[in-house]
């Protein structure tokens, strides 16, 4: 029957259209991913090469050792601090944006988007200059009588850099969910004798939760895996997960440990996105 034939032709067309990128993604993405998985179960030989003949969980077991554990804990804490700061700063800002006239709102949103499009390395480098010894911030604090500040190559510098890098990721989803919020619900909350803070906690906060979760994932996840920012602003003193993985590959040549850590990092991302979608989020 013609109907079935057309259906088959359509399916074949779709498949052929997808085939080049499908093949590309399998070859240059899925297979590399599998290789990493396989390597995370391999053993590092005494010469620094990797033996695939001996399968075990040694690399994962190593993640429990104090050195690695410290790196993981430090990364989680820094990423959490970054996320909380972004949330606290971005929520009022997104609220402010959503309650402006259309034109002002558009200008503000573009203003948030521009740094996001600006070269990542340059944005980190700018803070390197700002925070440098005798640099603008230090001179400023000295001028107002607070003395020189020397925060470059500290955890604080890393957090500043991460907040700077990922703040737009928090603002945009928050803005989207606040903008979607039906203002009449807020008025209904007030009408039903809720005080301002009560209405906020019981009406606004739950309704904007998808934005909060999306923004938090979008900030927390790349912060966990950050490499450039801690290298430039932490000066390599504060080793984070990203730098530690890179070291395992480029310096220590311990591929199994690097592979297992990369895999754990990716698993964290996957779990958080799945949690987000399960919690009713639509898009990131």
């Amino acid at each position: 029957m013609a109907e079935a034939k057309r259906e088959r032709t359509e399916r074949r067309r779709g498949f052929l259209l997808a085939l080049p990128s499908f093949a590309y993604m399998v070859l240059f993405f899925a297979i590399p991913l599998i290789i990493v998985l396989v390597y995370s179960f391999a053993t590092r030989t005494s010469t620094g090469s990797t033996s695939l003949s001996d399968w075990n969980f040694d690399a994962y077991r190593k993640l429990g050792e104090p050195i690695v554990r410290n790196v993981v804990v430090r990364s989680v804490i820094l990423a959490l601090v970054t996320t909380v700061i972004c949330l606290v700063v971005a929520y009022p800002f997104a609220w402010f944006c959503a309650h402006q006239r259309q034109t002002v709102r558009n200008v503000l949103l573009v203003a948030v988007m521009i740094p996001f499009w600006t070269n990542f390395l340059v944005r980190n480098y700018a803070w390197r200059i700002l925070l440098s010894e005798g640099g603008p911030i230090s001179s400023f604090t000295e001028a107002i009588g607070l003395g020189e500040t020397d925060i470059l190559f500290t955890k604080l510098a890393v957090v500043i850099g991460l907040v700077y890098a990922y703040l737009p990721f928090m603002i945009l989803p928050l803005y989207a969910s606040i903008d979607r919020l039906d203002r009449r619900l807020v008025e209904a909350g007030r009408d039903l004798y809720g005080s301002g803070p009560q209405t906020f906690r019981r009406v606004v906060l739950p309704l904007t939760m998808p934005g909060i979760i999306a923004g938090s994932i979008l900030v927390f996840v790349p912060s966990m895996g950050a490499y450039v920012t801690p290298e430039l602003l932490g000066g390599g003193k504060e080793t984070l997960l990203g730098s530690y993985i890179v070291t395992q590959f480029l310096t220590a040549r311990n591929w199994p440990v690097g592979a297992s850590l990369s895999f754990v990092l990716m698993a964290v991302m996957l779990v958080s996105t799945v949690v987000y979608f399960r919690s009713g989020g639509k898009n990131l």
Binding site: M25, F29, F93, F96, G134, I171
Partner: protein, 287 residues
Amino acid sequence: MSRKPIHRLPAWALRTNGAVVLLFLYAPIILLVIFSFSASRIPGQWGGFTAEWYATLFDDSRLQRTIAVSVRVALVSTLLATVLGTMSALALERFKFRGRRVFDALLYLPIIIPDVTMAVMMLMFFSQSFSLLESLFGIGLSKGFATIVVSHVAFNIAFVSVVVRARIAGMDATLEQAASDLYASRWQAFRFVTLPLIAPGVLGGALLAVTLSLDDVVVTQFVAGPGSTTLPVYVFSLIRKGVTPTINAVSVIMLVASLILVAGSVGLQRANASRGRQQLRTSGGNS
């Protein structure tokens, strides 16, 4: 709109917070530009106006080589990723086919995967496949321009596809049906109706791909070979050695390049938004 503030924060606090956020976002960039014209040898200090650091860029042949590599990588990988990404967006939005869900999920991964993981994947893949090719066929390959392009395409297909899909999803599918009702073949309907209408999305995806390609340090660092370093990787290694006024100048050049891309994408979004509004108006009154 509710006039009563429903939050404890008064209006002035909101406004101050807004100003601080904008200052925080823009001050570093602006200061970087200012200091790039400072005559002081110390990059964070003002020592009078000079443009000499920009002049030194022209003498640095290593720098010029890396810029050339970056531009070539960005162009080639963007072209490939845009074609492949647009094809997959069309397939996913307009067709049903076997393996569609797997493909959809596979295209989602590069967006959420951390840079470092992606870098590790590509490094291991190339070293494994190169040694395999060597042992099987005696073909000796090494990392360089091609491996960078392959890696950039691998993450950019997904980003292009997301942007283009959003555009296709917003396009009325009956327009394609109208075209075929008016005697257009499948190809003609695509060429004269679908493509012009999704073009802003395709262009937007391409701009994103260029930006991401020029942004990438980690993946490129892992898959670059000697002599094929890109500008960001080169600058990154310079900064790690120590900051110099020359890096200020290079950074400003990179900044200008990304601002041009921003202008392109913001302009594109505005064009899309106004067209979207018009379309909304014309179809107004329908249920």
